[in-house]
């Protein structure tokens, strides 16, 4: 389930990074707006210090301003005045008519913070008194703040806490949501994997995604039905072929043994019999392999002594009229004598039979076939080898790659030589064993079956 977990981890991380990106974007936008407002709004183009410096005492003890001051104030719709210590205006320039010419200390205190008759004002100390510069009505917003310092500190900490809490809550919610989706989706993804591997599927049809589960169950059932229909079809065909083939084999066998017929006719009958026998083993292999493929072959597990089983199979060949150009050598170790596995005797016999049969079919000029059974730490090893012509390297690769899926072999299903290897692999794998094929061209062919365990 690694890909699914990786997918959800990625999904979660992407959600978190979306939130982070969102925050960053907001910070950038906020500062951009500030800069934009700062740069585009009209500001008082006056320097209070400059104004102060331009208002000086003349020789008569009166305050006078440099010539350009009035002009500058005029341009900015501003005015300026200087109050002496008693609150009397001792200098003014462009001072609006409606404003008084005398101010009490209370007035000064008030306008220095807020407005003077709706004019925003700026106040600065002057050698002769107090310089008051006023701007245009409504041109400036003035606020006055005075807050407790510990309150400010707590507020800042609190704000940071709020911010952090928000982040944590958002991340947690995303995590929870992701988990929720994961929980709902994982069985479906597993189900798809199960279906694609050809296993039976049964998802609970509950929850928000019940419909999808139901559809998936349906798909699984459909595939299973098709598989079983296919196996049934193969079984049916092989069944229907058996009776006619019995008649063919029966009569061909009798003609072959009929001493009153000419030798050539008997030889022809023997060809019919031999080909009929090949057809017979092909049919039963095909039937069994399709049943194993779709797990429709019930295994009858019992204690099987592989040495004895191998002996019986070899004897079947030796007693069954094996031609003289073939020789079978049997060998077994003393320890393997008492070793048994749990297995289906008929199927295991079939696997061994097929291996020996393969050596016979592939070496029409004859060969020595060795069958041996040994026991070691890994389990019981059954080896069937011959000193025949072997197979080419490419063919060996193909044989090794042969999986137990009928589908995969459709294109290169080499029925000329039967389903031998495929069936052997299926049977051995049904017994949790392994199949190793070793071979060199012109240098024999060897199959090693290893069955785990092997109780003494």
């Amino acid at each position: 389930m690694k890909p699914v977990e990786r997918f959800f981890r990625k999904y979660f991380l992407s959600m978190v990074s979306i939130i982070a990106l969102f925050l960053l974007l907001n910070v950038v936008l906020f500062f951009s707006v500030q800069i934009w407002a700062w740069q585009t709004s009209e500001t008082l183009d006056l320097s209070i210090s400059e104004i102060r410096d331009s208002i000086t005492l003349d020789g008569t003890g009166h305050l006078t301003a440099a010539g350009e001051l009035a002009e500058m104030l005029e341009k900015n719709h501003a005015w300026a005045m200087v109050l002496d210590d008693t609150g009397t205006v001792i200098f003014q320039s462009q001072l609006p008519e409606e404003l008084p010419r005398r101010y009490t200390t209370a007035d000064v205190a008030k306008f220095s913070r807020w407005y003077l008759g709706d004019y925003p004002v700026y106040v600065q100390e002057h050698p002769q008194g107090l310089l008051v510069v006023g701007g245009e009505k409504g041109s400036q917003a003035k606020y006055y703040f005075s807050v407790n310092e510990s309150y400010v500190r707590k507020l800042l900490v609190g704000l940071a806490a709020v911010f952090l809490t928000n982040i944590i809550v958002v991340v947690l919610l995303i995590w929870k949501n992701t988990r929720h989706i994961e929980k709902a989706v994982t069985p479906i993804l597993r189900g798809i994997e199960t279906v694609s591997s050809g296993q039976p599927i049964n998802l609970p049809e509950k929850g928000e995604l019940a419909e999808i589960n139901r559809q998936l169950n349906k798909a699984g059932a459909f595939i299973a039905k098709k598989d079983s229909a296919r196996a049934d079809w193969i079984s049916g065909v092989s069944h229907d072929v058996r009776t006619p083939l019995s008649v063919i084999l029966g009569f061909a066998g009798q003609l072959e043994d009929n001493q009153t017929l000419p030798a050539s006719a008997r030889e022809q009958a023997s060809y019919i019999r031999k080909q009929g026998e090949r057809l017979r083993s092909l049919i039963s292999d095909l039937n069994l392999t399709s049943k194993l493929e779709y797990s429709m072959q019930p295994l009858r597990m019992e204690k099987v002594y592989l040495v004895e089983l191998a002996r019986q199979v070899v004897c079947e060949f030796l007693d069954g009229g094996l031609e003289a150009r073939y020789q079978i050598v049997f060998d077994s170790s003393q320890e393997s004598e008492t070793a048994s596995v749990m297995g289906d005797e008929a199927l295991l016999k079939r696997a061994l039979y097929n291996l020996i049969q393969n050596s016979v079919i592939h070496n029409p000029k004859g060969c020595v076939i060795s069958v041996s059974v040994a026991r070691n730490e890994t389990g019981i090893t059954v080896m069937v080898s011959d000193d025949g012509i072997g197979v080419s390297t490419e063919k060996l690769e193909k044989l090794r790659a042969t999986t137990n899926h009928l589908e995969n072999t459709d294109e290169r299903l080499n029925l000329r030589h039967g389903l031998g290897v495929l069936l052997v692999r299926q049977i051995v794998e049904a017994h949790h064993g392994t199949v190793e094929i070793e071979c060199a061209p012109q240098n024999g062919y060897q199959t090693v079956l290893v069955f785990p365990g092997g109780e003494p």
Binding site: S246, F251, Q254
Partner: protein, 231 residues
């Protein structure tokens, strides 16, 4: 043996003809072939045959049903022919009391050998004497006859010899022989078996160290070579 009545029950006409011709060419003279279970029951009601060769798959009454009805009235040996070859068929047949089964398609020889084996078992002949190269063995009396002298076989020797004689000409594996000697758990009895084989050879072979009748097949088992089929 060839005078035993054989009843063939199969719905396929060609198959009936084929089986009939197998037994005819083997010298059997009393062969009846019928197409259905009902006909078979009618034949059996008149006279019980020596053996019934019975197809499993038949319309109206299948082989298993027929076998059940036959077994209710008779112990006649039955060989089942099945087209399925599946384990269930085999086990179902044995449970109902079939003596053997054969999967289609089969070779004429296979059918003949199995029928002969069943007949031998079902109707043991008197004076079963196995003729060997240097001696003869009287199975009924468990004695070796050699140059007019009779030597008795021990019980173990007898059971081994009987098994080998039953399968004369074919290899009998070490496992099978040990099993006849000691029953289900036979592992580790190989040396005991070898001792009995040696004693047997001393009784039946001209030269026990160079046997010509009781042969060893290396690694596999033993084989009994008889001069002619037991009479």
């Amino acid at each position: 043996m060839q005078d035993r009545e054989i009843l063939i029950v199969d719905d396929e006409k060609d198959l009936r003809t084929m089986i009939r011709s197998i037994f005819e060419s083997a010298g059997y003279t009393q062969i009846t072939a019928v197409a259905s279970g009902k006909e078979a029951l009618a034949v059996i009601a008149k006279k019980t045959p020596g053996i019934i060769i019975l197809d499993v798959m038949m319309p109206d009454m299948d082989g298993f049903e027929l076998l059940q009805e036959v077994r209710a009235v008779s112990k006649v040996p039955v060989l089942m022919l099945t087209a399925k070859g599946e384990a269930e068929d085999r086990f179902a047949g044995f449970e109902l009391g079939a003596d053997d089964y054969l999967v289609k398609p089969f070779l004429p020889k296979e059918l003949l050998l199995r029928v002969q084996a069943i007949l031998k078992r079902a109707y043991p002949e008197k004076n079963r004497i196995v003729t060997l190269d240097a001696a003869a063995v009287d199975l009924d009396r468990a004695e070796v006859i050699r140059e007019g002298q009779r030597t008795p076989l021990t019980a173990k020797e007898y059971s081994i010899f009987e098994k080998l004689a039953e399968n004369a000409g074919r290899i009998v594996t070490v496992g099978v022989l040990c099993q006849t000697l000691c029953g289900e758990i036979w592992q580790g009895y190989e040396t005991t078996l070898m001792t009995h084989i040696r004693h047997l050879r001393e009784k039946i072979e001209e030269n026990p160290s160079k046997p010509v009748s009781l042969l060893t097949v290396k690694g596999l088992g033993y084989k009994l070579v008889v001069k002619e089929p037991e009479q």
